[in-house]
Amino acid sequence: MAFIPLKQGRDAGTLVMFVVEPMTTPLQFYRLFRDLLREQGVRALLTSGMACVEYGIQETTKDTDWIIHPDDFEKLVSLLCRQEKGLSGANWRISYRGIFGAPLDREYHLGGWTSHLIIQDVPSSEEQRLDFFGQPPRLTAEKAFAVSGDELADELVVAQMKKTDRDKDWPMVEALCDLVGSRKNAEALLHARSPDLLKALWTTASEDQRKTLMKRRPLLVEMDTPRFGLRKCLAAERTLWEEVNKGRYRRFQHEWKQFIRRWRGQNDFAWPVSASFDRQHDLVCGAVRQHELPLEPLGGAEGRMKIVENAQSVIVEIYGDDVGLLETITPPLEEMLP
């Protein structure tokens, strides 16, 4: 715990009095929360920015992002309710954030929704922001847990999640691949962003590995038989990922806005509310079902394919309709939107 002065005397001649209250820093809080998850048997993986920090790649984000095993959301909600209890408990203040997202509910998380909370563990600490994923974007929880250790998402899981439309995320992908590549792990070829790193990794991969990885990232065909040029393919591929992410996100956002409009039409609409977390959770779980927030906004394989096709149309707009370029840069649907 760190300590901060709350009050101090003004006059140099008077005894300076300090009233100290403990405060929790974002790093301390993340460790505290990790330990609680472990103690309560909630299977969870730290991911995104704070995971990069653990890997030695600096991100100054204070948020913590967690992949929660879809079967453990009830345990997580129980943990949070328990932490909020006063007198005999930790007396945390916990709120769902007033941004779009779904409750901590297994069914919604299986459909790709996320949940966002603010937690204040002691009054003098800043609010801690936590994001939860039951199915991380561009991955499945099953895959993430299968390849990761107990508490920290594997580097390549983080890299796959970082294929967003935010510029700041792409250097992270490259750095994580460099780290994995230094252990001679050929899987880094699935995500590496620079021609130099790709070439270095390619030399370490066996023929079998190359064939397998090429199926998951068709761009790798350019390593042995260049046709469009690696730089052009890398740029087009990144744009494709960015557009797919935008399309995916818009679907969730659209459904959430429609849901909020339906909910708001009710006379007693109030959200967010300052109630205990168990009441907030009950309220939002009831609302999403009563006002029909869809469980799975991406709409199966057909809906997902449509998102990819829209993204491909942007590629054609930017790079022209070179025969074969789209095939060369488009990973299979199960890699982009599993």
């Binding site: 030695g56 250790g149 508490e151 967003t164 935010r166 806005k257």
Partner: protein, 81 residues
């Protein structure tokens, strides 16, 4: 966490020099130097950065239905994860 990916594990091998060079190339020398620090020192330095700077929250915009900026959601750039 396992022996492979536990950064606090003292037996965790040092990263090759090329990794730090890559970090310098991608993020600048300061962040590469930070990565070279032992784990505990790295985290102390990060605590100092957290205390000194308020990092932007990329999920903070509110939709119009909840009293936020009506256009912010539509034009929000970049989108969250």
């Amino acid at each position: 966490m396992n022996a492979k990916n536990d950064p606090m594990n003292e037996s965790h091998p040092e990263h090759p020099e090329e990794f730090y060079e890559k970090l310098a190339e991608l993020f600048g020398q300061e962040k590469a130097d930070w990565a070279r620090l032992p784990y505990e020192e790295r985290m102390k330095e990060l605590e100092r950065l957290h205390a000194a700077f308020n990092t932007p929250d990329d999920l903070s915009y509110w939709p119009p239905e909840l009293g936020g900026d009506a256009d912010a959601v539509e034009r929000s750039e970049p989108f969250p994860k």
